[in-house]
């Protein structure tokens, strides 16, 4: 039978049924689609488009030019610096802790530690900033304690300040660490016992095993996790805001000031900065995705 377009009959009805079914499937996706479009994609698009509209209403790169002013460049520099530092600190310490968890004790303790990390990685923003000020602020109890016992004043003698750059690093580390633990535990747990044992039967001691198998297999997920930590720190607002009250020059804080500032809302500039942020974070996420894809292939 030649496959000419059927004019009527069972084939047409089948096509109609298929189309009807596809339509119904689409209909079920409308609620989700609506939410995502209205409250995620549209704002995103608005930000991107708005970045290209200058204050006088004309399209162009004027906003980006303004975003390259020294104070904003410094903001990017500082944001990237703090994100890289806290990501690396979190990554190294987090991996060590994750290793201790995986190779440590019974199941129950593992589950407990996982919850604990989930909780603490949530404990950020104002309460966290507050907690650190009470602990390591000018009259925080640890500050006072160190003064009393070691006769060293953190602030006067060591130039430390909780609301300074390094204070912020310390505070960020508080939620970066548990996040790293949560990400590293599955990766480390995924190292099969058989690999270690097979390596042993082939004559390899611990060091050789880690060099030839362990670290190469762990590297992609850990690198990916570090990238995620970077993105996490880069976008943080509430913690930085409550701790430094805007004293430290970070990109999210800059955007915040533009939105809520006394001067009328400079949307274009804010958008340009937002686009800049998105690019940086997107780069980090791409690294994360790429690393995960590779490790997932191997670990089949």
């Amino acid at each position: 039978m030649i496959a000419a377009a059927p004019r009527d009959g069972p084939a047409r009805a089948a096509r109609r049924a298929r189309a009807g079914r596809a339509f119904a499937t689409g209909a079920g996706l409308v609620p989700f689609g609506a939410f995502v479009i209205l409250f995620l994609l549209l704002p995103g698009a608005q930000m991107v488009v708005g970045a290209f509209i200058a204050q006088d209403g004309r399209a162009g790169l004027a906003n980006f030019a303004r975003a390259l002013a020294p104070q904003y460049l410094n903001a990017f520099r500082t944001s990237i610096a703090i994100s890289v530092e806290t990501a690396l600190v979190g990554a190294v310490v987090g991996t060590v802790v994750a290793y201790a968890i995986v190779h440590g004790e019974a199941r129950r303790r593992q589950a407990f530690v996982i919850t604990f990390c989930t909780v603490t990685s949530n404990f950020a923003g104002v309460p966290l900033a507050f907690a650190f000020v009470t602990t390591l602020g000018v009259v925080g109890w640890v500050t006072v304690f160190i003064q009393a016992v070691f006769h060293v004043n953190l602030y006067n003698d060591l130039g430390f300040a909780i609301y300074s750059y390094y204070g912020l690093v310390l505070v960020y580390a508080y939620f970066q660490l548990p996040l790293m633990v949560l990400l590293a535990v599955p990766a480390i747990a995924g190292l099969r016992r058989e690999w270690r044992e097979a390596a042993q039967t082939l004559g390899a001691g611990a060091w050789r095993y880690w060099r030839d198998v362990g670290l190469p297999v762990l590297a992609p997920p850990l690198v990916g996790a570090t990238a995620l930590l970077f993105a996490n720190a880069f976008g943080a607002y509430a913690t930085a805001y409550s701790l430094s009250s805007g004293a430290i020059n970070l990109v999210p804080l800059r955007i915040g000031t533009l939105i809520n500032g006394d001067v009328s809302f400079d949307a274009g500039l804010a958008n340009a900065l937002g686009v800049g942020m998105t690019i940086v974070i997107a780069a980090a996420i791409l690294i994360y995705q790429g690393a995960n894809r590779r490790s997932r292939r191997w670990m089949r």
Binding site: G28, S121, F123, A131, T134, Y174, A231, S242, N260
Partner: protein
């Protein structure tokens, strides 16, 4: 042995700031007191704002959980090819910083004809989006773990229609995952600061915003409120652990700040 030391140090580090705050709130000079906590009971603003936060949290949970349970199952059964897209869209809010989301939302929804800024509704919808990664992941883990396709087909062969299958077979089996999603969303909303600040501010003040205010004027009271906030998050997470223990899949949740 070393492992135990590492873990002990880790816990000590994490507990340190919290103990600092506890210490600060429970001691006036050398006198132990609960006064700063009890202050909350008589504080009308506290009560109003925590109710605001609770309302937002409940609304967000209701919408987000039902939306994602339905959507995840729908895609799982009817359009599995779309799953990667669903995963991507649900992952997106995880990496979009709250400030940039706030920025975009304000620009769109502060102009007539659609002025939603300053309303609790806008904040709720934004929270639903923010909660997507956690809700979706929790539900999806449950779906794969229970082999929902087989269950659904079994119910179908016994004569149950789509809706009935969903409500009587799928949802009950997904329940632990749903509970996890609900608790994650709840703790997320109760602690969220950035979007609340920019989208509604004082028009519908939430608990985290109040915390920020109080801290500056009355540190001890603010600290007590911070502990309360921590307890809420902790409490939800403990409950999550309990729920996910019964669930086939594992749930991870982390909020970006």
């Amino acid at each position: 042995m070393i492992q135990r030391i590492v873990l002990v140090l880790f816990f000590a580090y994490l507990l340190l700031p919290i103990t600092g705050v506890l210490h600060f709130t429970l001691l006036d000079g050398t006198r132990v007191t609960a006064a700063h906590y009890l202050q909350a009971l008589g504080d009308g603003e506290f009560q109003a704002y925590i109710v605001h936060s609770l309302a937002l949290a409940v609304a967000t949970v209701a919408i987000s959980v039902s939306l994602m349970t339905f959507t995840a199952f729908w895609v799982h059964m009817r359009a599995p090819a779309l799953k990667p897209l669903l995963e991507l869209l649900s992952f997106l809010p995880f990496v979009v910083p709250a400030v940039t989301l706030a920025l975009g939302l304000i620009e769109i929804y502060s102009r007539p004809p659609l002025v939603l800024t300053g309303t609790a509704s806008l904040l709720t919808f934004a929270y639903v989006v923010l909660a997507l990664p956690f809700t979706y992941r929790a539900v999806e883990n449950g779906l794969s773990a229970i082999d929902s396709r087989t269950l659904s087909e079994a119910a179908q062969s016994l004569g149950a229609g789509w809706w009935r299958r969903f409500i009587t077979v799928i949802v009950p089996n997904l329940w632990p995952g749903i509970v996890s999603a609900a608790l994650l969303t709840f703790s997320l909303v109760m602690g969220e600061f950035t979007l609340a600040l920019f989208l509604v501010g004082s028009a519908y003040e939430t608990y985290p915003l109040y915390l920020n205010e109080v801290w500056r004027s009355d540190p001890k009271y603010g600290a007590a409120l911070a502990i309360l906030s921590f307890l809420i998050t902790w409490g939800s997470s403990v409950l999550i652990l309990g729920a996910s223990r019964r669930a086939p899949g594992q749930v991870q949740g982390a909020v970006l700040k």
